[in-house]
């Protein structure tokens, strides 16, 4: 088989074998509906409570504050729409940043159409939220601040603690999208004064289609999905037992040796970043040099368009993603790359490599060998490039 090097862990991860093993019995043997009172149900009730406990512990929450959802996007939508619906009598102003994930951004834009007002705070050249601007944006009718923990494109980690304190001081509900941060940083919802936190299992070697929303006790929020009494009546739908079990196992694995994981990724990331910047002229690193996810290497390569890079890498078996809109036929390049001040042209020629637990040094070396050749070939074709 052709060599295949997967460097797109921020898009999704393969499930770990232990995760799959934990899930397997729940597909057709121990498959009962946890809400049923018979034995098939009861045995699974215990099982999901255990997963809930494990995950809650990894973020220093209590088990009755975490609610399973159908994924990170649902968690974000629930958090934001749920809080503003509950608090619409109190105010109509929301604060977020310019570099949020679309699950947050498009939700906020939708709410603008519904009559809410949203401030999209700027970020600096490294992608760090402008705290002064955020502070100045706070109004008496601000009901929600929603800021992501770490950015999915450029990997920048935000000063969540400072924002949490600000929110607390002004008595504003604080939501954090930690989908990319989870499993890569230690998250303590109490210390960080977070009221709501979104997670998604498939980014941490768990199953797709399962997420979680942490809701601090006492937080006012309305359901997104009404119906049965599952999740203490806050999120209806038959519990996805195998996925919950898998999420629990993935969480356990992610936090049992966080330091080892971070060390491994950081080493490979830095080797990749330094190697690429050295070997490819007219290239630059996007995001913060140190306050970044351990596995994220986002670089811009001038005079070339991202999809062409992606396709060429794919031809040699390397999978990564790009900040180019051309990947999907859109006019505008990534809103994140624009927000950190890249020009359109440069933003179009950006690549995101994301490293994971299964990445080897050999994989990195392979990219360092192949990418410069590809860049040179494409630049030869580019009308913008003059040697």
């Amino acid at each position: 088989m052709k060599k295949r090097v997967y460097l797109d862990y921020s898009a999704t991860t393969p499930m770990k074998q232990e995760v799959l093993n934990a899930m397997l019995p729940h597909f057709n043997v121990q498959f009962g509906n946890p809400s049923s009172i018979h034995c098939f149900g009861r045995e699974n009730k215990a099982v999901i409570d255990q997963a809930r406990q494990i995950i809650a512990k990894t973020i220093n929450a209590s088990a009755d504050e975490v609610f399973f959802t159908g994924g990170g996007s649902e968690s974000d939508n629930w958090a934001i729409k749920g809080v503003v619906s509950a608090l619409k009598g109190k105010g109509k102003h929301i604060i977020t940043s310019k570099i949020e994930h679309h699950a947050v951004l498009h939700t906020c834009e939708f709410l603008e159409k519904e009559g809410f007002e949203v401030t999209f705070v700027d970020v600096d050249e490294f992608g760090i939220v402008d705290l002064n601007q955020l502070q100045r944006s706070i109004r008496p009718d601000t009901i929600l601040i929603t800021i992501m923990y770490a950015n999915n494109e450029i990997g920048t980690i935000q000063p969540i603690k400072e924002i949490g304190e600000l929110a607390k001081k002004h008595n504003i509900t604080f939501h954090v999208d930690a989908v990319q941060a989870y499993g890569n940083v230690r998250i303590d919802v109490q210390e960080l004064k977070i009221d709501l936190l979104s997670l998604s299992a498939h980014k941490v070697y768990g199953p797709k289609g399962i997420g979680l929303l942490y809701i601090k006790k006492g937080t006012k929020i309305i359901q997104l999905i009404h119906g049965g009494a599952q999740e203490k009546r806050r999120r209806a739908g038959t519990e996805n037992v195998p996925a919950i079990v898998g999420f629990g196992k993935a969480a356990e694995l992610a936090y049992q040796d966080l330091e080892g994981h971070v060390k491994h990724l950081t080493f490979l990331r830095d080797k990749l970043i330094n190697g690429l910047l050295e070997k490819i002229p007219y290239s630059r690193l996007n995001g913060h040099p140190t306050k970044r996810l351990p596995g994220n290497a986002n670089i811009s390569i001038e005079y070339i368009e991202g999809e062409a890079l992606l396709l060429s890498l794919d031809m040699v078996g390397i999978a990564c993603s790009s900040g180019s809109a051309c990947t999907s036929g859109s006019l505008d390049p990534s809103h994140v790359l624009m927000a950190i001040g890249l020009s359109h042209e440069v933003a179009h020629g950006s690549l995101r490599f994301t490293i994971g637990d299964f990445t080897s040094e050999e994989d990195v070396d392979y990219v360092l060998k192949e990418l410069p050749i590809i860049v040179e070939r494409l630049r030869q074709m580019s009308p913008l490039y003059e040697k």
Partner: protein, 146 residues
């Protein structure tokens, strides 16, 4: 996503490069949009005897450029002007819907180079009627994220 033919032209594009003292040069697209095609023509007795291109753009932009140059090579100007984006796309065994505009770009690049030739030589071509080299082509809005 792409047909084998698209990938083949993308990986081994024909007629890449520039022509010095070309008889017609056309550039379409906009770097802000992530795509620029530049096309060079050598024309003798109304026949396109050489054509080269340079493209900054996606895989489909590169492949359509390449295919378009092959399709007009050795043709008369009128034949070249009758090249449609659909013909280019068809010759590549089709393009994904969101990528059809790249083939429009290729058609426009050819027209634009001939337009330049016509201007320089004070010629008129039926096929250029209504053609405005500065007009923008349409872009679809789509996005993806994870």
């Amino acid at each position: 996503m792409y047909s084998e033919k698209v990938m083949e032209h993308f990986m081994n594009p024909r007629n890449v490069g520039e022509i010095e003292n070309a008889d017609g040069v056309g550039q379409v697209g906009n770097p802000k949009c992530g795509d620029i095609m530049k096309m060079y023509l050598k024309i003798e007795d109304g026949i396109i005897v050489d054509v080269k291109f340079k493209t900054f753009g996606c895989g489909s932009a590169i492949a359509t450029s390449s295919m378009a140059t092959e399709m007009i090579m050795g043709k008369t100007i009128d034949e070249a002007l009758s090249l449609t984006n659909r013909a280019v796309a068809d010759a590549l065994d089709g393009l994904p819907p969101v990528k059809m505009h790249c083939s429009v770009l290729a058609e426009q690049a050819v027209k634009s180079a001939i337009y330049d030739y016509a201007q320089k030589n004070n010629l008129q071509f039926d096929g250029l009627e209504g053609f405005d080299p500065n007009e923008d082509h349409d872009h679809h809005h789509e996005e993806h994220e994870d």
